[in-house]
Symmetry: C2
Subunit: 346 residues, 2 copies
């Protein structure tokens, strides 16, 4: 099916467009009253993730309500650890928790992986089919996965953490074992993303959410090679890599065969351009807290961001939108980007 609003895909292909496309990380979520009302009727977050009609419904909500240039499938990065054999619970106001974690060579040996593991996640592929039907080609659909290190971090730590020190400890204490786990996780991610592409997603984003707890040396050894494998394996749709807080590896990330790089709000556009060059597609990076301010401030900050990046830019926040962000602030951001035209600054 032809995509009617294809500004995101054109930008990702490196074309010069009239304005930056715009979407928000976590746009399908608590910022929308429609989402909160679906969510209130359910037993929990995982029911929403695993029920294709509901996942599709909340995925489409921000396209209707906000007019963003892309949908991103409502899901969770932790479905992969689960498919590999580590079930998790999502605890309200606390986050994910894994009753079983990986610690030993035997634990890693016991993991399912690759296509057999990925093929179990039928509810994800069904949700993609549902969503594509519901979107009827209005905007492209982004699918996503967690990066290998970020998934390993949860699988070793057993939940969120400020430091992920148990997971980082493994990298120093038993690097060979860490590589074995990362290899299995990567193989599974690739099979999962290939299934997603087959099910209909138009682009992929890989989230390395816990990149920032690593040193540059560790990132080079335990992350970059696996991200490279993913980029090389996904050839039919564009790939965006978002390694949050990995400023120290930005040059290496920029050399990956990815179509675009996500940026958090600590990275200044001029700094990123000086490393990645004027033609690299960069995505981000307004501070999510900007959207708490008044409309005038949001407009000014959005314009400043767009002008600083120049073309080859996808407008987004530097992180997921915070759940308590006023809907008006979100709309001001989206509408400001959509009203912008590059020739105005020429």
């Amino acid at each position: 099916m032809k995509i009617q609003n294809d500004i995101l895909l054109r930008t990702l292909r490196g074309e010069l467009c009239e304005r930056p496309p715009v979407w928000l990380m976590r746009q399908a979520g608590r910022i929308l009253p429609q989402y909160r009302s679906v969510r209130a009727s359910l037993s929990g977050f995982k029911e929403l993730v695993t029920t294709p009609t509901l996942a599709a419904e909340v995925t489409i909500q921000p396209v209707d309500e906000l007019g963003v240039d892309a949908a991103i499938l409502f899901s969770d990065i932790l479905v992969i650890p689960e498919a590999m054999g580590l079930d998790y619970e999502m605890i309200e106001k606390k986050g994910p928790s894994f009753p079983k974690v990986i610690q030993t060579a035997a634990d890693i040996e016991a993991l399912s992986f690759g296509k057999p593991a990925a093929d179990q996640l039928t509810y994800v592929y069904d949700a993609i089919a549902e969503t594509k039907k519901g979107l009827s080609g209005r905007v492209p659909l982004i699918g996503f996965a967690g990066a290998p290190w970020t998934l390993l971090a949860y699988m070793v730590e057993g939940g969120g953490s400020k430091t992920f020190s148990k997971a980082r400890r493994l990298l120093y204490a038993d690097p060979a074992l860490a590589h074995k786990a990362l290899d299995k996780i990567t193989t599974t991610i690739i099979a999962y993303l290939q299934n997603k592409v087959e099910a209909g997603v138009d682009a992929i984003q890989v989230f390395d959410s816990w990149a920032g707890v690593l040193s540059a040396d560790l990132y080079r050894e335990f992350c970059i090679p696996y991200l490279k494998r993913i980029c090389e394996a996904i050839t039919d749709v564009p790939v965006i890599i978002f390694a949050k807080d990995a400023w120290f590896a930005f040059d290496e990330l920029a050399r990956l065969p990815a179509n675009a790089l996500g940026m958090d709000w600590t990275m200044e556009p001029s700094w990123a351009r000086s490393i990645a060059g004027p033609d690299k597609v960069l995505q981000g990076n307004l501070d999510p807290c900007t959207l708490y301010a008044d409309a005038k401030t949001i407009e000014a900050e959005t314009w400043k961001m767009i002008r600083s990046f120049g073309q080859h830019h996808i407008a987004n926040l530097g992180h997921g939108v915070y759940p308590d962000t006023p809907l008006d602030g979100v709309k001001t951001f989206v509408n400001t980007v959509k009203a912008f035209r590059y020739q105005e600054v020429a």
Copy 2:
């Protein structure tokens, strides 16, 4: 009293020394069996902070047990918010919690500040006098304070947070009010640090622990000017500024009139030297997780760090030592630094 081992102070004065001095952030704490035994007999963390003889005892323990080149007073950055009128509790395994927070202009108006607020913290100054007596000049004593932004972040947020989005929201939504609060906090920090110097500390470290949640623009506006005021006000002893994760402001931090800059482990020594120059005293920055590895790995990583920084360097971790770090790992780190001599790499 003359300091016998003054290698830290000589390094902070810009002298070329035979090796880097070494100490660890959180060296007075759970890594030491002596600390755990003192702590087990008490009702809570705050009893230890507010009882001068006990605070002095645990401050001296790592000098005896590890042979570090400096003591750092056992205390908490949140004693200042408390002196300003916001009591806090320290909840086991959870962290600090403020029953009352600042939200409005009236809340900020009601805060005590400056010398009258700082003068209330007599237990801190008594602990310094006790510690100096116990050390009998063996090594210098470092006193510390939280940076204005970090203290404001806790005072608005009411506790720890992954994003400190409420505190950051204030910077966008009411910048004038944020500046008013930062001004009061800075005035109090300065009076507090001047009292500490008078009580006997030989050096000061300022911790901007939550620097990394801000954008470069916000850091320039809401942090750098206040840090500058602190540096300019403390003239009798050297000042170390540690702004964790503030890589994006490293050039501005390097231009502050501080004697040394702390670095977290995401910052590579060569990168820091390229910005701060060969003569700036830099402190850090081994990944705390390195100390979980075997002795050979710890030695190799420590040597690599020392050689990469070159002279004008204080060996330390890139963050506080993690409480479950094996004591042997800590000792290997300290002993490796102390055995090093710069001429060996000439």
